[in-house]
C-alpha cells in the first residue's frame, strides 16, 4: 500500500528525449542526404555507370548499409517508444520473465511500495547474466525484471540491493524507461554499431584502396571521416544515456540509500571479457564518474548539469579533427583550412542550437518543471529536485554564454 511519502524529483532534465527530438527534427535533411548518397552509389548521381559497375565500387555498398544503421535503429527505437507493450512482449518472451508469488518477491514488492514505486515485478531466477532491470509496458508503466544474482544480493547485502531497485525505479520517474533498460533499441545501437562499423565500414574502404582504384588517393580523407563517424554519431546519445544513469544515482542518494549505492558500485563484476566490459561503458558511465557525481556540492552539480549541452563543443572538436587533415589531403592551403574551419564551426554551432538552446532553457526552468514532469511519469507527487535552484540557473547561464559567444565569434 502506498505510504504517500513525497520523494524528490530528478535532478537532471531528460536529455535523451531532447536528443531524440533533435534527431527527429533533422530527419528530412537526413533523408535527402541518404537519397543523394544512394543515387551516387547506384550510378544515378556523381559517378558514371562504368565506375559503379566495378567490383571494388560494389564494396562501398556495405559501407552505405553500415552508415544507415543508426538511422534504422533510431526509427526502430521510435517505434519501440510508440509501442512499449510490444517491447515488453519481446523482452518477457526472450528472457522468460514470469510473474511469481513467493516470499522473496513479496519482500521486494513491499520495498517498492514503501518507496511509492508504481512498478510490477517479473522474474527469471535461473538466469544469471543480470541483476535487475526496468523495461516499459506502457508510456507511463514499467516492470522490473529480477534475475538470480539479484535475489542472492538481496539476501547478502540488503542496502546494496535496495539501491539497485531505487536506481531502476528512478528511470520511470523521468520517462527514461522508454529509452533505456531491457530491450532498448538505443542501447542496442550503442553496443552493436562499433563492431558493425569496423567490419563492414573500415574493411571495404581499405579493400578499395588496396585494389588501386584511380580515385584511391582520396581514400585516406574518407577513412579519417569514417573513423570519426562513431564519436560524431554516438557522443550525444551516449552522454544522454550516461546522464540518465547519473540522475538515477542521485535519486538513490536523495532517497537515503547512498551507502547502499556505494556498496553496489563497489561490488566486483562477475567477469566477462574486456571487450564486453568496454561496451558496457558505452551505455553506462564508469563507476569512478558515478561516485564523483553522487558526492554533490554546488560546483560539481553545475558541471553535472551543464555537461551534456556543452558536449556540443567536444563534438565540434571531433569534427574539426577529422575535417582539418582531410582538407589538407584534398590540397587546401593553411589559410584556406583556417577559413573553412571557422566557417564550418559557425554553421555547426548554429545548426546544433536546436539542441543546446532548448537545453539551456530546460535547465533554467527545471527546478519548477521537474515536479509536474515527475508527476506525469510516476503518477505520484514529488518535491523539487534536491539541488538548489541557483545551481540550475548557473548551469543554464554557463551553457548559453559559452555557446552563444562562440557562435557570435564564428558567424
Amino acid at each position: 500500500m502506498p505510504t504517500g511519502r513525497i520523494t524528490t524529483a530528478p535532478a537532471l532534465p531528460p536529455w535523451m528525449l531532447l536528443w531524440l527530438l533533435g534527431a527527429a527534427f533533422s530527419t528530412p535533411a537526413a533523408v535527402q542526404g541518404w537519397r543523394q548518397y544512394f543515387l551516387d552509389l547506384t550510378g544515378g548521381g556523381a559517378y558514371g555507370a562504368d565506375v559503379v559497375a566495378t567490383p571494388s565500387f560494389g564494396l562501398l555498398h556495405l559501407l552505405a548499409l553500415v552508415q544507415l544503421v543508426p538511422s534504422v535503429v533510431i526509427a526502430v527505437g521510435l517505434c519501440a517508444v510508440a509501442f512499449p507493450q510490444l517491447r515488453a512482449m519481446v523482452v518477457e518472451r526472450r528472457l522468460r520473465l514470469t510473474e511469481q508469488r513467493r516470499p522473496v518477491t513479496a519482500e521486494i514488492e513491499d520495498f517498492l511500495r514503501e518507496h511509492d514505486a508504481n512498478v510490477e515485478v517479473r522474474c527469471n531466477l535461473a538466469r544469471q547474466d543480470r541483476l535487475a532491470r526496468i523495461y516499459p509496458v506502457g508510456w507511463r508503466r514499467a516492470r522490473l525484471a529480477i534475475f538470480g544474482p539479484f535475489v542472492a544480493l538481496w539476501r547478502r547485502d540488503r542496502p546494496a540491493a535496495q539501491a539497485v531497485l531505487l536506481h531502476e525505479v528512478a528511470h520511470l520517474r523521468t520517462g527514461d524507461h522508454l529509452f533505456l533498460g531491457l530491450g532498448s533499441p538505443f542501447v542496442a545501437l550503442v553496443n552493436l554499431w562499433f563492431p558493425l562499423l569496423a567490419v563492414f565500414g573500415v574493411l571495404p574502404v581499405v579493400a578499395f584502396a588496396l585494389v588501386k582504384y584511380p580515385t584511391a588517393g582520396e581514400l585516406p580523407a574518407q577513412l579519417l571521416l569514417l573513423l570519426t563517424l562513431l564519436p560524431r554519431t554516438l557522443l550525444l546519445p551516449v552522454a544522454a544515456l550516461w546522464t540518465a544513469e547519473l540522475s538515477a544515482d542521485r535519486y538513490v542518494v536523495d532517497s537515503g540509500q547512498g551507502a547502499g549505492l556505494l556498496s553496489a558500485l563497489g561490488a566486483q563484476d562477475s567477469g566477462g571479457n574486456r571487450y564486453l566490459r568496454s561496451l558496457a561503458h558505452l551505455s553506462h558511465p564508469p563507476r569512478a564518474l558515478r561516485r564523483w557525481a553522487i558526492r554533490g556540492g554546488s560546483r560539481q552539480d553545475v558541471v553535472l548539469l551543464a555537461s551534456w549541452p556543452l558536449l556540443v563543443l567536444i563534438l565540434l572538436l571531433v569534427i574539426l579533427m577529422s575535417a582539418v587533415p582531410a582538407w589538407f589531403l584534398l590540397g587546401y592551403s593553411g589559410p584556406e583550412v583556417i577559413e573553412a574551419g571557422v566557417r564550418n564551426s559557425g554553421a555547426f554551432l548554429s545548426d546544433s542550437a536546436r539542441i543546446w538552446g532548448p537545453a539551456a532553457l530546460l535547465l533554467l526552468i527545471w527546478p519548477v518543471a521537474a515536479r509536474p514532469w515527475t508527476r506525469w511519469w510516476a503518477g505520484r507527487a514529488a518535491s523539487r529536485p534536491s539541488m538548489p535552484g541557483p545551481v540550475h540557473a548557473s548551469a543554464a547561464l554557463l551553457v548559453a554564454m559559452v555557446l552563444s559567444t562562440l557562435l557570435l565569434l564564428t558567424s
Binding site: 531466477l125 538466469r127 547474466d129 539479484f150 544480493l153 536506481h167 531502476e168 561496451l279
Partner: protein, 191 residues
C-alpha cells in the same frame, strides 16, 4: 501424492539443504535453478551464461554457486552415488562415520591448499561418533576429490572447491538413502 509431486518434493528439499550449507543466499532461487537445469537446452544454458554486452548499471553481480554444484553432482553421479548407495554406509553408525570422514577429508584438503573458508558447522554429534572407518574415509576422500576437481574448473568456486565439495557431501551423508533418490532424479533428467 503422485510420483511427480514426490519427485519435486525430493528435489526441493535436498537442493535447499545443500544451498543452506554452501550458498545460503541462493536458497530462494535454488528451486528455479534446479528446474532450469533439469529442463536442459536453453533453460540450462542460461544458468551458465556469462555477462552480456549490456548487463545494466551495476553489472551482472556475483555468479551463482548452485548451478555449478548441481552440475558437479550430475557429472560425478557415479562416484557420489556409489559411495552413498553402498549398503555398508547405510546404517546409523556408518553415516556418522562417513560424516566425520568427509569432514576430515575436505578440511585436510583445504588446509593443504590454504583454501579453507570460515568456520564450518560441526557434524551432528561429532564428539559422540566413532572415528571414521578407514575404508569409508578413503572412499570419502576420493569422492570429495572427484567433486572438487569438477568444481575447481569454475572461477566462482575455484578457490574453495574442496571445502564446497566436502560440505555438499556432508549434507548428502546425513541421509544417504534420501540423497541417492535425489541424485537419481537429477542425474536422470540432467545428463
Amino acid at each position: 501424492m503422485n510420483n511427480s509431486t514426490a519427485e519435486s518434493d525430493v528435489l526441493a528439499s535436498w537442493s535447499e539443504r545443500i544451498a543452506a550449507q554452501v550458498a545460503s543466499d541462493e536458497i530462494d532461487l535454488v528451486p528455479d535453478v534446479l528446474t532450469a537445469y533439469i529442463a536442459g537446452g536453453a533453460a540450462r544454458r542460461q544458468l551458465f551464461s556469462g555477462p552480456r554486452a549490456d548487463p545494466g548499471a551495476f553489472g551482472a553481480g556475483l555468479p551463482l554457486v548452485m548451478p555449478y554444484v548441481i552440475d558437479a553432482l550430475v557429472h560425478c553421479y557415479t562416484v557420489v552415488r556409489g559411495l552413498l548407495g553402498d549398503p555398508a554406509v547405510n546404517s546409523a553408525i556408518a553415516i556418522a562415520s562417513l560424516a566425520v570422514a568427509l569432514r576430515q577429508s575436505w578440511k585436510a584438503e583445504s588446509v593443504r591448499d590454504g583454501s579453507a573458508t570460515g568456520t564450518p558447522a560441526q557434524p551432528p554429534q561429532a564428539a559422540d561418533v566413532p572415528a571414521a572407518d578407514s575404508e569409508v574415509a578413503v572412499r570419502a576422500a576420493d569422492t570429495v576429490a572427484a567433486l572438487a576437481a569438477r568444481l575447481a574448473a569454475t572461477p566462482v568456486i575455484a578457490g574453495r572447491a574442496e571445502a564446497v565439495a566436502g560440505e555438499v557431501l556432508t549434507v548428502l551423508a546425513t541421509d544417504p538413502g534420501g540423497a541417492t533418490r535425489f541424485l537419481d532424479v537429477i542425474a536422470k533428467s540432467g545428463t
